[in-house]
Amino acid sequence: MEANKVLDAKGLACPMPIVKTKKAMNELESGQVLEIHATDKGAKNDLAAWAKSGGHELIQHEVENDVLKFWIKKG
């Protein structure tokens, strides 16, 4: 999937993956896609809930070698 920006949040514990995601998102235009890599398992539910409450869209997520990958489209 094509992303406009990639955020490496691997090795970071909660709340940092979301704190960084929020910052990175602020730099994007509406409709652009942010790709996030994280290793904190809690990130999955939290990113999904955060995206929803912020009006963004979690387009896709997958797990690759213990790395959680997310693609969120800015609302």
Partner: protein, 375 residues
């Protein structure tokens, strides 16, 4: 203002003493709905930490200034962030050390009674998950029943009272938590007993626990008498300790009864469950003190934090023991059951030795309440 830290033991004390506490839970809404810290006089407000990244001004009117406030999250990181923000606004608050992860793993030992020729029986209350396990101690020997995977607690406790663990039992193959029984037995060279009917697929050696088995602990011969009581699982076995305590496993609880569906055979086992509760247990002395493997709601805790009740009282008060009509009973225990425990199939496979997930994975599998009962 300062940010304080509160640990699970301190929160447990507040639960036992029915103290007041205001819990600001900053996990996401579904996690909060699913499972939270329960206390009779606890009040709650849930808002996910990621709604507070820009500041806590919007929730200041939700936080009481006249109550102790505890900020809680999954692992502690987010609760520290929010606690610091509240502190900057002038509030004195605490965060829960280790978060819900630590809460789920906290065990509080409570003495539930003395044995008649010397010795004691302790209940280990896993307050966050509602799991209960036991240690029977007599003359320097100890037996453990239905141990959780947090094995260090039992080993350290036995050490602290100068007891050697000689026997380890599981009343059945658990579906809601990962048993620490095998690991404790390996570390202490104790015998590990399992009901063979629940153990047909296990990948390790064990001692078969059969109806009528008598195991003695310590040289004053405290009896642990096995009583076959199927229904929650086909092998479920109870113990009568010292002719005084009935360790009922997941068959009978204080305010509920066991569910027969977690191994996938509700319709087949409902008859066994009824037979165990309405015939086998009926034949026992009403003076026996029932010590179950779970509690469901915080109201089941006694004043001292223990969970126990006389069998006669349960026959008078527990709804699940007072359903005359067999069809009605069948309906209660097979229809409209609560959701099954998180990852219960994987937990069963772990307890059989078929899979060996790492500690982090085990934690994740056990997240949430136990849900082993029907009311």
């Amino acid at each position: 203002m300062t940010v304080n830290v509160m640990n699970s033991k301190e929160v447990t004390k507040k639960v036992f003493n029915k103290e007041e506490l205001f819990i600001l839970d900053v996990r996401n809404e579904s996690d909060f709905q699913d499972w939270k810290i329960e206390g009779e006089n606890f009040a709650y407000f849930n808002i996910p930490y990621f709604e507070l990244l820009d500041g806590v001004e919007g929730i200041m009117d939700k936080i009481p200034s006249d109550k102790e406030v505890l900020v809680v999250c999954a692992k502690e990181g987010s609760s520290i962030m929010v606690a610091e923000m509240l502190s900057d606004e002038g509030l004195t608050v605490s965060y829960l050390e280790g978060g819900m992860k630590a809460w789920s793993e906290h065990l509080e030992p409570v003495k539930v009674g003395d044995l008649k020729d010397g010795g004691e029986i302790y209940q280990f209350v896993r307050i966050g998950k509602g799991c209960l396990s036991y240690m029977v101690v007599s003359n320097g020997d100890a037996a453990i029943i239905d141990a959780s995977r947090i094995t260090d607690i039992y080993l350290e406790f036995a050490d602290s009272i100068g007891a050697k663990i000689t026997h380890v039992f599981d009343t059945h193959l658990h579906a809601d938590h990962i048993s620490g029984g095998r690991s404790i037995a390996e570390k202490t060279n104790a015998s590990y007993w399992l009901p063979p009917k629940d153990a047909t697929e296990v990948t390790f050696a064990y001692k078969p626990l059969e109806d009528g088995n008598l195991v003695e602990i310590g040289n004053v011969k405290i009896n642990i008498h096995a009583l076959y009581s199927p229904g929650h699982t086909i092998g479920s076995t109870s113990f009568i300790v010292d002719e005084k305590f009935l360790l009922s496993g997941d068959i009978l609880f204080i305010d509920s009864i066991g569910r027969p569906d977690l191994a996938g055979l509700a319709q087949d086992w409902v008859g066994d469950l009824r037979e165990s509760l309405y015939k086998r247990y009926r034949e026992l002395s009403e003076e026996l003190v029932v010590l179950p493997a779970h509690f469901m709601i915080i109201e089941e805790l006694n004043e001292d934090g223990s969970v126990s009740e006389k069998l006669g009282t349960l026959y008078a008060k527990n709804h699940g023991l007072n359903i005359e009509d067999e069809n009605e009973f069948r309906k209660l225990v097979t229809e409209n059951l609560p959701p099954q425990p998180n990852a219960y199939q994987e937990i069963r496979e772990t307890n059989m030795g078929k899979i060996n997930p790492d500690e982090e994975k085990q934690r994740e599998m056990e997240i949430g309440p136990n849900r082993c009962a029907v009311r």
